[in-house]
């Protein structure tokens, strides 16, 4: 009898505990309760105003807006779009009318609002998968909703949006998404990053730059130099893409650490051509090491090759390499300090342009979203977020360490009557991936805007006259590297 009572008591206590837990934490364990929320006013071109529920994430003015409210407000404009949020997936169809689900165009009815944590939730726009950071939540009607940054939404649906500095009203312009870089810079657009630059790799024209000559930690964007050195060795007949690379003890050991990307064992073999995918897509440090050892016998010798290349390309003193993968390491001194490969945004632009002009086949690798590495029996994925978000993106490489922040070197092929201009955007030092992705996409789009605005001949004039020997040499290297 007592055991039956005990079981009954235990059951009801468990039930009570479950109810309490559900009540206290009704959503997933990564839920965020936002206290900085706003009922933002949106004004469309005809003057009509709407209310858009807005979250200020982490810091004030870091606005994330309700997709449903925005879809509702733009419903009567040429930038209308339909949106559905279901099962954690967001589907957007541009040009389609939004069907109201209830709760749109009304403000928050509470002083707090809870959503899931900020993450990349699957978004399909016009059937194309892309990756933007969003919050998932529910409106007052209990309808699923998603919140996205204003800049990302503006680029996603190609709408001109801007905050009126005097009234604080979000205003929709009559045209497409466009960037006034002067205004952006004055408003502190570049303060989120350590350095940045966007330019035309074909002509050497720089459209916008910030701290472009400052030396910064370059993390895994190092692997672009690694790629160049590998390909130059191949061109010189020192190696072949058909070579079989044997994984060394050192590379295998690296793969087993927390910096390892692809688990490898000593003695394993893979084709050099395949290893290039491993280096550039998931940023495999052990693959970079294995190929470096294959080319030059040791990483030390390969790094000498990398630094020699710095001189050959006439890069500045801001650029120096200590290893072939970009991981930080400690100096062999009593007061050990963390040293990392370093480069300036401008030097990375020159390096990237050189590679794109000399080895355009890199785009075939860096524009690949997924690749099957037969030697290791796995499918690898490209870490470049813009590859998923912008059609036309062809590369190039992400980089992340504590010192370098979230970094990205991206490339976009723009075609005009003059042929293809590859726009390269370099970004170093973003606080996190959301900032990295948004800043990089804005830079690429600004590059497109600049090329659309002017023909290539005019762009050359605007690039400025290369008045110094150094500038002339850089321009000539870019032109010459187009022909192999």
């Amino acid at each position: 009898m007592s055991s039956r009572i005990k079981k009954t008591v235990a059951f009801f206590m468990s039930l009570a505990l479950a109810i309490i837990l559900l009540y206290v934490n009704p959503v997933a364990t990564n839920a965020i309760t936002h206290k900085d929320i706003e009922n933002l006013t949106l004004e469309i071109p005809d003057g009509t105003r709407f209310t858009v529920k807005t979250i200020h994430y982490s810091y004030f003015n870091n606005r994330f807006v309700s997709l449903r409210d925005m879809a509702y407000a733009l419903g009567g404009t040429d930038k209308k779009f339909a949106v559905s949020v279901s099962g954690g997936e967001i589907v957007i169809k541009t040009g389609s009318k939004y069907e109201s689900a209830g709760g749109e165009n009304t403000g928050f009815d509470t002083s707090e609002y809870t959503t899931e944590g900020l993450k990349i939730n699957p978004i399909k726009i016009d059937g194309r998968e892309c990756r933007y950071y969003t919050f998932l939540g529910k409106n007052a009607e209990g309808i699923n909703d998603a919140f996205i940054s204003i800049a990302d939404l503006a680029m996603l649906v190609d709408v001109d949006l801007g905050i009126d500095p005097e009234t604080g009203i979000l205003k929709m312009g009559a045209g497409d998404f466009c960037i006034d870089m002067d205004a952006y810079e004055k408003q502190g657009f570049y303060y989120e990053v350590s350095s940045a630059l966007v330019g035309d790799a074909r002509t050497g024209t720089v459209f916008s730059a910030f701290n472009e000559d400052v030396s910064v930690s370059c993390a895994s964007t190092t692997k672009l130099m690694t790629y160049l050195c590998i390909m130059d060795a191949v061109s010189a007949g020192e190696a072949s893409l058909e070579d079989t690379v044997v994984i060394s003890e050192k590379a295998a050991a690296l793969s087993q650490t927390s910096d390892g990307v692809i688990k490898m064992t000593a003695g394993q073999k893979a084709g050099l051509g395949d290893m290039l995918y491993a280096i550039l897509l998931p940023s495999s440090n052990e693959s970079a090491l294995a190929v470096a050892e294959h080319i030059d016998g040791s990483e030390e010798e390969f790094v000498k090759r990398m630094n020699l290349k710095v001189k050959e390309l006439n890069l500045s003193d801001s650029t120096v390499f200590f290893n072939c993968h970009g991981l930080p390491e400690y100096s062999d001194t009593v007061a050990a300090s963390k040293i990392q490969n370093r480069i300036s945004a401008y030097d990375m632009f020159v390096l990237s342009a050189h590679i794109l002009n000399k080895y355009p086949e890199i785009k075939e690798i860096t524009s690949t979203q997924k690749y099957k590495l037969e030697a290791f029996g796995l499918e690898i994925e490209n870490t470049n977020p813009l590859l998923y978000n912008m059609p036309g993106i062809v590369g190039l490489k992400t980089g992340t360490t504590k010192a370098s922040g979230a970094s990205l070197v991206s490339a976009y092929d723009y075609e005009d009557e003059d042929g293809i201009h590859t726009i390269v955007a370099v970004e170093y030092g973003a606080e996190d991936a959301t900032v990295r992705n948004t800043v990089s996409e804005v830079l690429i789009r600004y590059g497109i805007q600049c090329l659309e605005k002017a023909g290539s001949a005019e762009a050359n004039e605007e690039a400025g006259f290369p008045g110094t020997y150094e500038e002339l040499l850089k321009r000539i290297v870019l032109f010459k590297s187009r022909s192999r």
Partner: protein, 225 residues
């Protein structure tokens, strides 16, 4: 008596000779016998050193030893300064425009050749030229493609002051006025040359060496200030 007359004649002759000599000396002092270097003379200033310095600075190695030879023009290039000394006590000095223009052109041509060699060497180091070096024509074509102008025209824009301007030369050398000749010295207007040595072919004024030039060689219409 005869002896007395002879002695008197000798004394008088000696006095006359002495007075004549003194007179000549006095005359020489106040009216020197040094001739004026009348004629047309030319001083050829070698400007290749100035141009070499300008090019070295542009190439970015101004701190290196100028005599290191990393960049220096092999052939001297001259700008002519013409000095005309008339027998009426006037002189005129000017910079020959034709020689200045020719010098400037020659300097830019030489510098363009050096630039193309340097570019070729750099591209060769990059492995962008294959087994052969870039030819002069290929380098010229590359420069044209990069900056939409030829190498010489590019350098005239990138290094406009490869040598001082013609106006600066005129300011430095252009002069005219009256001259006077002293004891192995010549004063041209306010400029005084303590040392004057000349013969039929050369005129040395202090450390500046002029060569004799005929009127035919200069062509009067080129002498402008």
């Amino acid at each position: 008596m005869r002896k007395y007359k002879r002695k008197l004649a000798i004394c008088i002759s000696m006095i006359v000779i002495l007075l004549t000599l003194v007179g000549l000396l006095v005359y020489e002092h106040f009216f020197p016998m040094t001739k004026a270097p009348v004629g047309v003379w030319v001083y050829s200033e070698d400007v290749s050193g100035t141009a070499s310095s300008a090019m070295r600075e542009w190439f970015g190695n101004a701190n290196e030893d100028p005599s290191s030879g990393e960049f220096s023009l092999e052939e001297p290039v001259y700008v002519n300064v013409i000095l005309r000394i008339g027998n009426d006590g006037t002189y005129e000095q000017s910079v020959e425009k034709g020689s200045y223009d020719a010098a400037r052109d020659a300097l830019y041509q030489s510098c363009a050749a050096e630039l193309k060699k340097s570019i070729s060497a750099h591209l060769e180091a990059l492995g962008m030229t294959g087994d052969a070096s870039l030819s002069d024509a290929e380098a010229e074509e590359l420069i044209n493609e990069a900056v939409s102008m030829g190498s010489v025209e590019y350098l005239t824009v990138a290094i406009p002051d490869i040598i001082p301007s013609y106006e600066e030369y005129v300011k430095k050398y252009g002069d005219k006025g009256n001259y006077s000749v002293g004891d192995h010295s010549l004063t041209l207007g306010s400029r005084s040359a303590a040392k004057l040595i000349f013969d039929g072919e050369s005129l040395l004024l202090d450390d500046t060496l002029y060569k004799k030039l005929s009127e035919k060689e200069t062509g009067n219409d080129e002498l402008t200030n």
